[in-house]
Structure formats: structure tokens, C-alpha cells
Amino acid sequence: MFAYTIRRFLTLIPMILIMTFLIFLGMDLTPGDAVSFMASPEAMANMSQAQLAQLRESLGLNDPFFMRYLTWLGGVLHGDFGYSLTSGVPIKDIVLSRIPATLELSVAALLISTFLGTILGLVSAVRKGRPVDHILTITGMIGVSIPEFFLGLVALLLFAINLNWFPIGGRLRPEYTVYWDHMKNLILPALVLGVTMTAGVMRYTRSSMLDTINKDYIKTARSKGLPEWRINLVHGFRVALTPVVVLIGFRLPILIGGSVVIEQIFQWPGVGNEFLGAVRSQNYPLVMMIALFSVFAVLIASFIIDLLTAALDPRVQLD
């Protein structure tokens, strides 16, 4: 186990290096640079080429590609994550200020989708072929098919604008005095994000559960006269959860990277929103840092999933 852990951590290093290099290359290949987005084309028509060159020089954008990459990498290795090209704010501060918002939304959505998805998937599987299964299957298909943005806009229109049950968007308001005040801002985006993810978890759980309850050891348990709920929940559901855990586990780091669409619709000031702005403005130090953070989260999550899989399924050995 210890050797496995060390091995996995060592493999993370080249993977992170490759990923960061590819992202940096992608940014470099994208037309334009940070200066192209600092002023509108109309304003740029009034700036001389010399002024623009001066700006690029001051931001280090004239250096060759490899020098810029190595400078960035060297800074990160020394704990210097750099500064936003557009605001001059330390990137560490920007990311740290966005993470609470993203974590709130991600964890809430993940809890909603996991709870609803697994319960409904279980019900659908044990009631296979019955009306409830058909209803849940159709609902699941619709849920998978509806884009996040559409559901988000409908929810906003209905619950925030027409019924006025929830705030229109944003996270913090000037009138909020304690932490819990902003929970009412979290409910709608978390529900929308959670519900859009529920359908996938439900379908996955149903398939996995159906696969499991046809296994020999389930038939053995049934022949031993165990009650049906025990067979389903203890013997079937536990093993059926293994692939579901993988699905859920991989969703968390992706969510930590930010749900760009939901954060945009609900003006939620999370990492995804920041990432989108950084990509648009070619703010490469910020893009790199958020990307690095997401890559790291995915790799760590995959490691934790391996451990969880082993814990849930006795057949899996980590050697």
C-alpha cells in the first residue's frame, strides 16, 4: 500500500509537467495575447504600434515560448505563482478568493446528485420493468439531455424572477452579515447543477445495480433466505456502488475546476468564472495556475478513487 502510494505520487510529476506544457502551448497557439484584450480594437486604433510593443515588453510577452514556460515553471517550483496580467493581483490570492465559492457549489451539487442519483437508481433497478422504472428512465433520459444553461435559465426565470423565492444571482450581498446569509444564493445554482448531474448518477447506479443483482453471490444470498432489502442494500448496492464512486469521484475535481456555465448564469464568482475570464483575456499565468490546480485535483482524485474502490470491492488489490 505504501509502495503503491509512493509510486502513484511519482507518476503524478511527469503527468503534471506534460499537462502544464500542453496547456501553455495551447495558450501560445491561441491567436492574440493579453495586450490584445486590454483595450478594445477601437481604442487600439488610437494606440501606436510602439505603445503596444511597450506594453507587451512590460508584461514579458515578447520572450520566446520556452523561456516564458520555464520562467513560469521556475516560479511555481519556488512557490511564486505570479501575478494576474490584467489586475496585478497575486494569482495565489485570486485562486484562494475563488475557491470557497466553487467548493460550496461543487460540494452542494455533488451531495444532491449523489443522494438523489443513487437512491433513484437503486429504486429503478429493484423495480425494473415497473411503471416507476419507466418513469425514472424517461426522466433520466430527459435529465441527461437537457443542457445546464437551459435548466439554469428556466430555474432563474421561474424561481428567482417570477416567484421571487431566490436571489437572482451572485454570492455575497452588501446586506449579508453572517456566513449563512448567502446560503439562499447557493440553493438555486446548487440544485440546477445537482439535478443535471443526478440523471447520470441514476442511470449509472441502475445499470450497475442490475448487473450486480444477477451475480451468483446475490442468488446465493437469496437462496439463504435473507430478506430482500438486505440482499439489495448490503450485498448488492455496496458492490454496485464501486463504478458509481468512480463516476462521482471524478466529478468532484472537475467541479472544483469550476462549473463555467452555471457560474456564468448565476453570476457565481467561482473558479470557473475566473477561468473563463482568464482564457478570454489570455491572462496566461492565471489560466496556468487554475489549470494546474484542476489537473492536480483530478490526479489526486483518481488516487483516492483507487483506494475507495479497493475498500468497496474486496477483489481489488493495490499492489
Partner: protein
């Protein structure tokens, strides 16, 4: 009917583009230069496009067709040729010019909105109707290098850009901005070869006397209307959206993208449940408060934080002193003297001094991202070159004595006073270690200390910003108790939904889609305002390399 016609045109061209993909681009030139160097071709293009139909249909009438770069108003000559839609005339002009029907015009644009795409499609169809082939493509990335690089030889070229026509906009602070970019050797003149007549007429507008300048603009407009160095398409308006319970105390409407006398200290809204009069608006900072040197009044935060030496009227004409209790302009326009008020303070309670004023304009001389009208004014100051070159430690043309600040110019600038209505003094003490190259990145812009009627109460970047009345404000304390701004960039994607939710008392937009939605809301009043913002085709008259 016109709406139907344009819609059909858009559809036809969309399909024909798909089938015509791969058509080879011919390289035949007319008259040995650019095919567009012949004025008859440019006129033909103007006649070929039914802009009124486009405005009525695609823009739902929320724009005004243009017959000049100059916007409508007192500074525009009457009886210009409107180039009303006349395809037969266009065909005749093309025939006279010997237009090569195999030549494919390369037209570029850089806006990504659907209306632009639809309009480009319609214009492509109109051009096809008179026998002009064209391809339209959207530019991406470094737009300045693709659009505005002038040729090495501004007389003969060849062109340093690849396009024939570029759909763009001129959003001007001063009237001169519409035309100065066409001057020979202009830093961004990638399109118009040297024209001594046009140069002379444009330079004629660089006079201080308002009547002489007006007459000079009239002459420029007549020449422009005849020669069409660029093809004006339409005037974009700005639309002010305000809630029905906002009382602006009779303040007029001006160009909301800049600063003018809008009397915000007397604005009121009804008190909320807590008894506070809170104005809700957008334009709050996302990552930082934008400096007022490039876009001086684009964002609400800039408007309420900073006062200026002079205040402008709704037409952006200098009206009266603001931070300056008085000012005088010498007869030759080369010296402007300001006498600062005694009762002006920064939001931290310290005095706003003449030294702050002098420092601000010296510092701005070394900041790269500065509005062109502003930088042009600074360059005309005596001693500017020596200061920027580093051979002098101050600009000799800015002289202070007590609360008197004198600006002395080597050459009179007709927009000098206008600049003092827009580009505010900043507190010197907060910039002692700031590199002008990194001006926007200074920590000051995270929580600015200004001189205007409202000061920062709290800024939670990308969440909200609150401003409260400045208690030492020399014009009196504002009637509103607080201004709450939610963050937004120049175009606010959340404008409509915030307005629908009753979270908006004041904002402005140029988006037609937003305006149509806002107009349907009973709690919102929308007011169109004419501004200096012209959409046009720049026409590349240089020969291609």
C-alpha cells in the same frame, strides 16, 4: 416588408456562401492600385447597401443611418448625400469604373454577436446584387496588428494589411477622432493613402476657436461625403435604463460612456425597508477599478469616484469649473490656467493639491494605455518630449503656484479643455512606487481613493462594490445613502435579468437585444441618447503587396 426582404436576403446568402465555398479570389486591380482606390467604386458600395432596411429590420429601428462619420447635431453640415439605396446607380458607377466582376472583396469584422453576422450576410447579398463578389471573415487574436498597421510608404503603399474593407466603429470623445486617423502617416492609418486635400481639411479642424472649428468640420464633411475615404453605415445610440422610482432631479442625458454634468448628488430613490436610499447599478469592478486614463467614464465606479478640473455639459462641451473654481484660456489657446478650489479633498480626508494635478498629467505621459485625445493633448505640452525622454524631471509646460496650475502648450490643442472634463487628477501619494507601465496593476485600483461625490465603502471583487456619500464633498453631501454596484464589464450579460428582478435602478447599454427586453418591463424606462459612435467600413485604398 423590408424586414422580410432582409431576412430572405440573409437566408439566400447563407446558402449561396455554402455552395460558393472555394471560389477563387481574383487579383485584378483597377487603375493599377487597390480596386477600391476609385471613388466611384466606393460610392457604388454605398449606394448598393440599403442601410435603412438593415436598421429597420435587424436593429428594430434602434440605430440611425449614417451619411458621414460625424454624428448628427450642431457640428454637422446639412444636405449631405445620404447615398440612399439605389442599386441601379451602383451598377452604373461600377461600370464606369471598369469594375472587374471576378474580383472578390475581402471584408473583415471582429464583433462576434449575431446581429453583426446577420448584417454582414445582408451586406454581402446587397453587394452581390450589383455584381460585386465578396468574402466576409471574422478576425481573431491580435486585432491591432491585423487592422491598424500603416504601410511603410503612406503615399504609394503597398498595404501592410490584407483586407479590402473592415467593419469597425469609431467611438469618439472628440470630433477630431473621427478624422485624424485618416491623416497621412497616422499611426493607425492602414487604409488611406496620402491625400493632401483631405490632410489640409482635417488639419483645419485643429483650431481652438469653436466657430472656426465648426466651419472646418463642415468642409471636411463635404469632402468626406463626396470622396468616401470610409463608408459610414449607421450611428449607434446608447440607451439609458433606469427604474421608474429613480428621480434624477432633472439631470439631462448625455453620453453615458463619458463624464458630464449629471447631478448625481441630487439623485434619489425611495427608502428601502431599512430606511436607506440605495441605488442599484452595474459597472462594479470585476478584478480592479479601471483607470480613468483610457476609458474615463465607461464604468459607474469611475464616474462616482473622481471629479475633474472642469465639468462638461450633456454634449461633452466644457461647461464650468469643477475642482477648479475658475479657469482661463489665453487668446491663442496655448495657455490654460486653473485656480483650484480651497475646499477639495481626497476621500482619505487629505487636501487635493496643485501638486497632485501636476503629478497626474506628468505620470500619464508615461502610461502606455491612455486615451488618444488625452495623449495627444499631453504631447503638445511644452517640455513633454524632454520629460518622456528622461532628460527632464518634470514637464516644464505644467507650472504650479499655490493653488494655481498653468498648462502651457507648444501648439494649441482644441481638445485640451475637453480632456480636463474627462481625465481626473489622482492622489500622488498612492503611486510613489508604481511603474507607469504597470499603472493598471497598482494596488490602488483595488480600493481607490478619489475626489468625487461617493467614496468606496467596501469592494468585494467580482461580488459587489458599495459606495457612500463623501462627507467632505465640496458640492454637498449626496442624497442617496448608498450605491450598490454588481460587477460587470463593458457589456453586461446580467443586465436584463437584474432589471427583471428589480435589482437595477440605473444602467446603460448599446445592445439592441437588451433594449428590446428592457422596454418590455413595466419597472424600467429606456431613454435613447445620440452619442459619438459611428459604425463604418474602413476601405483599404492601398495596393496589395
Amino acid at each position: 416588408m423590408k424586414k422580410f426582404f432582409v431576412t430572405v436576403l440573409v437566408m439566400i446568402v447563407s446558402f449561396s456562401c455554402i455552395f460558393a465555398a472555394g471560389t477563387k479570389e481574383a487579383t485584378t486591380e483597377v487603375g493599377g492600385g487597390s480596386p477600391l482606390s476609385d471613388v466611384r467604386v466606393r460610392q457604388a458600395i454605398a449606394y448598393a447597401i440599403d442601410m435603412q432596411a438593415i436598421v429597420d429590420s435587424l436593429m428594430n429601428g434602434k440605430a440611425v443611418t449614417a451619411n458621414s462619420l460625424s454624428p448628427n447635431g450642431g457640428l454637422k453640415v446639412a444636405n449631405l448625400n445620404d447615398y440612399a439605396y439605389n442599386p441601379n446607380k451602383a451598377k452604373q458607377l461600377l461600370k464606369e469604373a471598369g469594375w472587374d466582376a471576378n474580383y472578390t472583396l475581402d471584408v473583415v469584422y471582429y464583433y462576434g454577436d449575431q446581429m453583426t453576422v446577420d448584417m454582414m450576410t445582408a451586406i454581402q447579398s446587397y453587394l452581390a446584387n450589383v455584381g460585386m463578389k465578396s468574402t466576409f471573415r471574422k478576425l481573431e487574436g491580435d486585432l491591432a496588428s491585423q487592422l491598424w498597421v500603416p504601410p511603410v510608404d503612406p503615399v504609394k503603399g503597398p498595404s501592410a494589411v490584407t483586407w479590402d474593407m473592415a467593419y469597425a466603429a469609431i467611438g469618439a470623445l472628440s470630433m477630431n477622432e473621427f478624422y485624424d486617423r485618416f491623416l497621412t502617416g497616422g499611426g493607425s492609418n492602414s487604409h488611406t493613402p496620402s491625400d493632401p486635400v483631405y490632410d489640409s481639411l482635417i488639419k483645419g479642424t485643429h483650431v481652438v476657436d469653436p466657430e472656426a472649428q465648426k466651419a472646418a468640420f463642415f468642409e471636411v464633411q463635404k469632402y468626406e461625403n463626396d470622396q468616401l475615404p470610409a463608408i459610414p453605415l449607421y450611428y449607434q445610440q446608447v440607451f439609458v435604463a433606469q427604474s421608474t422610482h429613480l428621480d434624477r432631479a432633472g439631470a439631462g442625458y448625455g453620453n453615458e460612456q463619458f463624464n458630464y454634468d449629471w447631478n448625481i448628488i441630487n439623485w434619489t430613490v425611495p427608502a428601502d425597508a431599512n430606511g436607506k436610499k440605495v441605488l442599484k447599478t452595474n459597472g462594479g469592478p470585476v478584478q480592479f477599478v479601471e483607470t480613468p486614463f483610457l476609458n474615463p467614464g465607461l464604468f459607474m465606479s469611475q464616474k462616482v469616484l473622481f471629479d475633474h478640473l472642469v465639468v462638461a455639459d450633456t454634449n461633452l462641451a466644457p461647461l464650468k469649473g469643477e475642482l477648479a473654481e475658475d479657469y482661463t484660456v489665453s487668446a491663442d489657446g496655448k495657455t490654460i490656467t486653473f485656480i483650484l478650489r480651497d475646499d477639495i479633498y481626497w476621500h482619505d480626508g487629505t487636501k487635493l493639491t496643485a501638486e497632485d494635478v501636476k503629478w497626474t498629467y506628468e505620470f500619464a505621459s508615461k502610461v502606455p494605455a491612455v486615451n488618444s485625445v488625452f495623449s495627444s493633448m499631453l504631447k503638445k505640452l511644452e517640455g513633454y518630449d524632454a520629460y518622456v525622454a528622461g532628460s527632464a524631471d518634470q514637464i516644464s509646460g505644467i507650472v504650479i503656484d499655490g493653488n494655481v496650475v498653468k498648462f502651457k502648450y507648444a501648439e494649441a490643442d482644441p481638445n485640451a479643455l475637453l480632456c480636463f472634463t474627462q481625465f481626473p487628477p489622482l492622489p500622488k501619494k498612492y503611486f510613489s512606487n508604481v511603474d507607469p507601465m504597470q499603472f493598471q496593476q497598482a494596488s490602488y485600483w483595488q480600493n481607490p481613493v478619489g475626489s468625487g461625490p461617493f467614496k468606496v465603502k467596501e469592494i468585494r471583487m467580482n461580488n459587489y462594490a458599495t459606495f457612500v456619500p463623501f462627507e467632505k464633498y465640496y458640492k454637498g453631501i449626496a442624497k442617496l445613502d448608498e450605491i450598490q454596484m454588481y460587477p460587470s464589464g463593458e457589456s453586461d450579460p446580467n443586465l436584463v435579468k437584474n432589471a427583471a428582478a428589480g435589482q437595477l435602478d440605473y444602467a446603460y447599454t448599446k445592445s439592441v437585444e437588451d433594449v428590446l427586453a428592457l422596454e418590455s418591463m413595466p419597472n424600467i424606462v429606456v431613454t435613447p441618447v445620440d452619442i459619438r459612435y459611428t459604425r463604418l467600413f474602413f476601405v483599404n485604398k492601398f495596393p496589395k503587396p
